[in-house]
């Protein structure tokens, strides 16, 4: 699915706005400030997202310098999203086990546990579970062809159309719009008459009688 190897699957976006005149320095700063920060078991966030170098998406120490994203008229970065997916019921069960152990070993009354204490036990259980789990990673390569005003996002669904698109807009200060067929139709140089027809265009039925349940009428006509 990625841009660099194997078969490709991607969505096209139309970009409105010009690339920065000093793209190297300006985008290096912008990408660095939105660089992916890895999750840690002790940390509070359960998910993290940001840019990583296209050729080394798991090299967390490596800064995203211009030689890693600027290739002539192409700007190529990779969106990385990590998420811990730990079921709530499992966290509760682990917290319950810890509380039972405290009651058993320290002889404390469960009714004496305050809300803050219960939360702290749950957080400790979550940290332990996070340490045992590898976060789920999703990668999505993004290639911006600056001279053509087009962006290719090598992913699908809301990851591509919402999260990646939104991060692209914030990072590069441009507007992006999914290049669906209707969007492309409105972008064609059609002339005013045809443009007016397109504005009023409604879905056409190839076999209008199919909607009325007269399946054979047109066949008989054609035959």
């Amino acid at each position: 699915m990625g841009a660099l190897q194997g078969s490709l699957g991607y969505l096209r976006f139309l970009v409105t706005g010009e690339p920065a005149s000093n793209a190297g320095a300006s985008y290096e700063r912008s990408i660095s400030s939105r660089r992916f920060l890895p999750l840690t078991p002790a940390g509070e966030p359960l998910e993290s997202a940001g840019w990583v170098p296209l050729e080394a998406p798991f090299d967390d120490e490596r800064p995203v310098t211009r030689d890693l994203f600027l290739f002539g008229e192409l700007i190529a970065v990779c969106y990385r999203e990590d998420r811990y997916a730990i079921p709530r019921a499992l966290i509760k069960r682990e917290a319950r086990k810890r509380l039972d152990k405290i009651v058993r070993e320290e002889g404390k009354d469960p009714k004496s546990f305050g809300r803050a204490f219960l939360k702290a036990v749950e957080a400790a259980a979550l940290a332990e579970l996070k340490a045992k789990t590898i976060p789920r990673t999703r990668l999505c390569d993004v290639i911006w062809h600056t001279t053509r005003g087009e962006l290719r996002v090598f992913g699908r669904g809301t990851l591509a159309t919402e999260r990646v698109a939104s991060l692209v807009e914030r990072t590069f200060q441009v507007r992006v719009e999914l290049a669906s067929y209707p969007a492309r139709a409105f972008g064609l140089d059609l002339g005013s008459r045809a443009g007016g027809v397109l504005d009023r265009l409604a879905p056409g039925w190839l076999f209008p009688d199919a909607a009325r349940g007269q399946d054979n009428a047109a066949d008989e006509e054609a035959a």
């Binding site: 841009a3 660099l4 078969s7 490709l8 699957g9 991607y10 969505l11 096209r12 296209l54 050729e55 290739f71 002539g72 192409l74 190529a76 290639i143 062809h145 053509r148 290719r152 699908r156 159309t161 999914l178 290049a179 669906s180 067929y181 209707p182 969007a183 492309r184 139709a185 409105f186 064609l188 059609l190 045809a194 027809v197 397109l198 504005d199 265009l201 879905p203 056409g204 039925w205 190839l206 076999f207 199919a210 909607a211 399946d215 047109a218 066949d219 006509e221 054609a222 035959a223």
Partner: protein
């Protein structure tokens, strides 16, 4: 009507509504493309997809219907038919689905552009391309020259299982540039096809010619299957 029956939700921006109202263009395009390719003998001249000084014979693009197609009914039922495997260029189920009011929402194609062969699956809903296979860009050139009696291989024919050639090791920048150049070439062909479709769709001839041709193709295809011999 109660006061709270009134819809008070904020209207979507006009540009968003304009695009959403024309979502049918994707399925209509794929359906038109399928029948146009069949009627034109799987070969189309697309000068708009190439540089201006490209010779006419190099602007000819060959196509083959791939091994995947899906159709969805336009009506409220939204019934979906998914087809896979060979022979989709002459498929009775597909014709029946179209006859019952469905349009193609997924269509796999093989595209040969100046002897470079691509595989691609087009999606009507978001305009996305999936399963894109590019021509072999990174293998060492084959030095063996075929003899005069050997027929040239069909670019869209089945693979003959020839041995794999060693891969070239290229720097990332070159790999990226080559792959994106290929996608640009493929997209230029698809954009030229879409522009041709939109021009036809907006013309009066759509009703008098294009729709008639598609209807007749479906009717004849179904008739051949109904009448033995």
């Amino acid at each position: 009507m109660r006061a709270d029956d009134k819809d008070q939700s904020a209207a979507a921006p006009a540009a968003v509504r304009r695009i959403a109202e024309k979502a049918f263009l994707g399925p209509e395009f794929l359906t038109w493309l399928y029948f146009t390719l069949l009627e034109e003998g799987m070969e189309l001249s697309l000068p708009g997809a190439f540089a201006k000084d490209t010779p006419a014979d190099e602007a000819l693009v060959q196509f083959a219907i791939g091994k995947r197609a899906a159709l969805r009914a336009l009506d409220a039922s939204g019934a979906r038919v998914a087809l896979s495997g060979g022979g989709l260029d002459d498929n009775g189920e597909l014709l029946v689905a179209v006859r019952r009011g469905a349009l193609l929402e997924v269509l796999a194609l093989e595209v040969s552009i100046q002897s470079r062969v691509y595989s691609v699956t087009l999606r009507a809903d978001d305009g996305g391309l999936v399963g894109v296979k590019l021509p072999d860009l990174f293998s060492e050139p084959d030095e063996a020259v075929p003899g005069p009696t050997v027929a040239p291989p069909d670019p869209l024919g089945a693979s003959r299982g020839k041995p794999r050639r060693p891969k070239l090791k290229l720097p990332l920048e070159d790999v990226l540039a080559l792959r994106m150049q290929c996608l640009t070439e493929l997209e230029a062909v698809l954009d030229a096809l879409f522009a041709r479709f939109v021009t036809r769709r907006l013309a009066r001839a759509w009703h008098t010619e294009d729709l008639g041709r598609m209807r007749s193709h479906v009717a004849q295809g179904l008739k051949q299957r109904l009448v033995p011999g």
